[in-house]
């Protein structure tokens, strides 16, 4: 399910009659499309549209395909669009492992197997043995990694990044970029990165679309 590209077919989003963005683009597996624009330009609405949680105040048209599947025809929970926001948004009422297990598809059965998968993924982002921790006690960088591990565990069809590095400090930011892009490439995920940071675009090494300028 991961070895397929993402196709944005004449996607157009408007607010009160004003067109914010209009995109047609094909993103290959492992490739990163960067959408750049100043804050308030509506660049995040593209991710919301693909993910299926666009605010009803916006008017949107166009189709989004993952391989041969039309995502825009599916309800949000069947699109499997993995999203990372600025904030890690770990569910505060669950443990770190609880957050990860919540993301694993129900066809992985058996508690032990699900826990093992969560622990392995946690180790894969350098957080071995931290499953029992309260997410609120982690550092900012650790939280970001847990969020990444969580989204990877849900076997997404694509990765949608909504300025996920902007709240990390400089050193951490570079580390996280490398980790996220490496994981996406490793899993063959098409990625859309929304940002206003030129350094993000440079690190993504992919095509760049600029809006709202």
């Amino acid at each position: 399910m991961t070895q397929q590209g993402l196709f944005l077919d004449t996607v157009s989003i408007a607010l009160a009659g004003r067109v914010l963005l209009s995109v047609t683009h094909r993103i290959a597996p492992g490739e990163v499309l960067t959408v750049m624009g100043p804050s308030g330009s509506g660049k995040s609405t593209l991710l919301a549209y693909i993910g299926g949680f666009l605010d009803p105040a916006f008017q949107a048209s166009g189709k989004v395909f993952a391989g041969s599947i039309e995502l825009t025809a599916l309800p949000a929970q069947e699109r499997h669009a993995g999203i990372l926001f600025q904030d890690p948004l770990l569910f505060p009422h669950m443990s770190v492992a609880g957050n990860l297990v919540f993301a694993i598809a129900p066809d992985v059965t058996g508690r032990a197997q699900r826990m093992a998968l969560a622990e392995a993924t946690l180790a894969g982002v350098g957080l071995e043995g931290m499953g029992d921790r309260d997410p609120d006690t982690l550092s900012g960088g650790q939280k970001a990694r847990v969020a990444l591990a969580r989204v990877l565990l849900s076997s997404p069809r694509a990765l949608l990044l909504d300025e996920p590095f902007s709240k990390l400090d400089q050193d951490l930011r570079q580390q996280m970029r490398e980790l996220v892009f490496a994981k996406a490439r490793g899993a063959g995920l098409p990625v859309i990165l929304v940002t206003h940071d030129e350094a993000d675009a440079a690190a993504a090494q992919g095509p760049v679309i600029r809006i709202g300028e």
Binding site: F53, A81, L89, F102
Partner: protein, 559 residues
């Protein structure tokens, strides 16, 4: 489907009984009630009402009580928030006053009566040293003919309500930065707040203020405990007529309910006039450039008023508690000679049944209110539309229409359908008053929730129900429990709906306590009023401790 039904069901539940009840009150007011032989529409009940001795005095006491209570309570809250918001003293007073919201009106009223009566705690504290009284003086303090002690009882109870409502409206007003700005322009704390912050805050709390006016003009339990007796305030007399074994008195009671509606409407209209005057005064002061830089005395006064109000309720409740355990307690001793559990032991057998009814009705009506509120809020998320002003108007409807005006008619409907004094009927009528408070309490934290958590869950492939039950509701545990505690407290405190729909066969702690008021056995009243205060307090304790326990390993949700 269920979610789609939420808002219409809620609106029907709030507006339906009120409209039906008003109809059921209006028709008998004009003599039409075939079940009791009233076949023709006449003005006889109204004529009879106007011929009642002291009916104008009753009406005027009700009108004055509504306006004076609201004016004093709102002024204290407004000046206190203006003078102290953002200070550590403010936080301390807020912590002192917030728990008082859960104290039922009747318990607070009994407490005040036990304090200020001629043989009350205050007289004991200063006697005989300052007064020379060896016996309680023969003066009328409680039940004074002008209703001052009733107004005092209402004021100390409405202050916590108005303070919490105002605090909930403050975050949108950006008070801290406005204060910095007005201070830099040379305005005093209070003036800067009243000119810069108060107008939008007042706009938001206006319906709650109206609810206070409506409540204070038509309250029955507090008026029966503290209010004048000859003549009693209007709503008290109506309720007595309504409960009269002589069924034809219902025509008189219904026409009286019509008069109550007019009195409450008049109070609201006068209040709207006062709002205009206030706005004009503010405009005039702004344009004249008055800075009111030296407002320390007014700030201190406002602080003193708030602390005094809170201290009064606390001292009253403590006195109640003392009385329930008092053995021999002659005047003017400050403390009882002996303490004993005798009153508790003696009353215990009679308490069980009303206590169970109180608990079951409060629990069921709160759960139903919580369910309906969540359905409405989920629906609101789906449509992306926050209900506008008129929806808020519906929520406040049961709090602004005087209870007597529609409960009389509603009781009639229950009687005609043979459901009066049944548990479902009592739960239903409590729900009408519990629902608004639960919804108002829950809607702010619900709307403040970061919906990106739901986007994440959807992205992880979770269905809507799974997201609701496994992410959103658990994260809002504290808000849900707080809303439930508020609803529980509201239900426990309900007097008139319980008396009318319970029809003397389903009693609660509150109806039993108020029924004891005229008897004057302080020890037994102490027991009932103490229990009445205890039940909501337990509710709030659970709402505080349970999340702390559940989330003891989850730092982000413990605070």
């Amino acid at each position: 489907m269920l979610i789609r039904l939420g808002p219409p069901l809620t609106i029907a539940l709030l507006a339906g009984p009120i409209l039906l009840g008003l109809g059921g009150t209006l028709l008998p007011a004009f003599g039409y009630l075939p079940a009791l032989g009233g076949e023709a529409v006449t003005f006889d009940p109204l004529r009879q009402l106007l011929a009642e001795p002291g009916i104008w005095m009753s009406s005027m006491v009700s009108l004055a009580s509504g306006l004076v209570t609201t004016l004093v309570a709102l002024a204290a809250v407004m000046l206190f928030v203006a003078g102290w918001s953002g200070t550590s003293m403010f936080a301390r007073v807020q912590h002192l006053i917030s728990p008082l919201l859960s104290v039922p009106h009747a318990a607070a009223a009994f407490g005040l009566a036990f304090l200020i009566a001629p043989s009350g705690m205050i007289a004991r504290l200063v006697s005989p040293e300052l007064t020379g009284w060896q016996r309680p003086p023969d003066i009328l303090i409680v039940n004074d003919p002008m209703g001052f002690s009733m107004m005092a009882g209402l004021i100390v109870k409405e202050i916590p309500f108005l303070l919490l409502i105002a605090l909930a409206a403050m975050p949108q007003a950006d008070a801290a930065r406005t204060r910095a700005l007005t201070a830099s322009l040379g305005y005093g704390r209070i003036a800067g707040f009243l000119f810069g912050v108060w107008p939008p805050v007042y706009q938001q709390i206006r319906l709650a203020v109206f609810a206070v006016i409506a409540f204070a003009t038509s309250v029955v339990d507090v008026a029966a405990i503290l209010g004048p007796t000859a003549p009693a305030p209007l709503a008290v007399r109506l309720t007595q007529w309504m409960q009269d074994p002589e069924l034809s008195m219902r025509f008189l009671a219904s026409s009286g309910a019509l008069l109550q509606l007019v009195i409450t409407a008049a109070a609201l209209i006068i209040w709207i006039g006062l709002e205009r005057v206030g706005a004009l005064l503010r405009k005039f002061a702004c344009e004249a450039g008055w800075r009111f830089g030296r407002d320390t005395w007014l700030r201190q006064t406002a602080l003193a008023a708030m602390v005094f109000a809170a201290a009064t309720v606390f001292a009253g409740l403590a006195t109640l508690c003392f009385w329930s355990f008092a053995g021999l307690w002659p005047f003017p001793d400050v403390l009882p000679d002996t303490l004993s559990a005798k009153t508790w032991v003696k009353t215990a057998p009679r308490i069980g049944s009303p206590l169970a009814t109180t608990f079951v009705v409060a629990l069921l009506s709160t759960l139903l209110a919580l369910l309906l509120s969540v359905l409405c809020l989920v629906r609101e998320d789906e449509t992306g539309r926050i209900g506008g002003r008129w929806v808020l108007g519906f929520i406040y409807l049961p709090l602004i229409v005087p209870q007597v005006a529609f409960l009389f008619g509603l009781q009639l409907l229950f009687v005609l359908t043979g459901t009066v004094a049944s548990l479902p009927a009592l739960v239903f009528v409590h729900l009408i008053f519990v629902l608004p408070y639960v919804f108002l309490s829950l809607s702010d934290p619900w709307r403040a929730y970061d919906r990106r958590y739901e986007a994440i869950a959807a992205g992880l492939g979770k269905r809507r129900w799974a997201t609701l039950f496994r992410i959103r509701l658990p994260m809002l545990t504290r808000a849900l429990l707080t809303a439930a505690a508020v609803g529980f407290a509201v239900s426990v405190g309900q007097y008139l709906p319980t008396v009318l729909i319970g029809a003397g066969r389903l009693d609660t702690i509150t109806t039993e306590a108020v029924a004891l008021a005229s008897g004057g056995n302080r020890r037994v009243i102490g027991v009932y009023a103490f229990l009445q205060m205890l039940l909501p307090a337990i509710g709030f304790l659970v709402a505080t401790l349970l999340p702390a326990l559940i989330f003891r390993h989850r730092r982000a949700l413990r605070a």
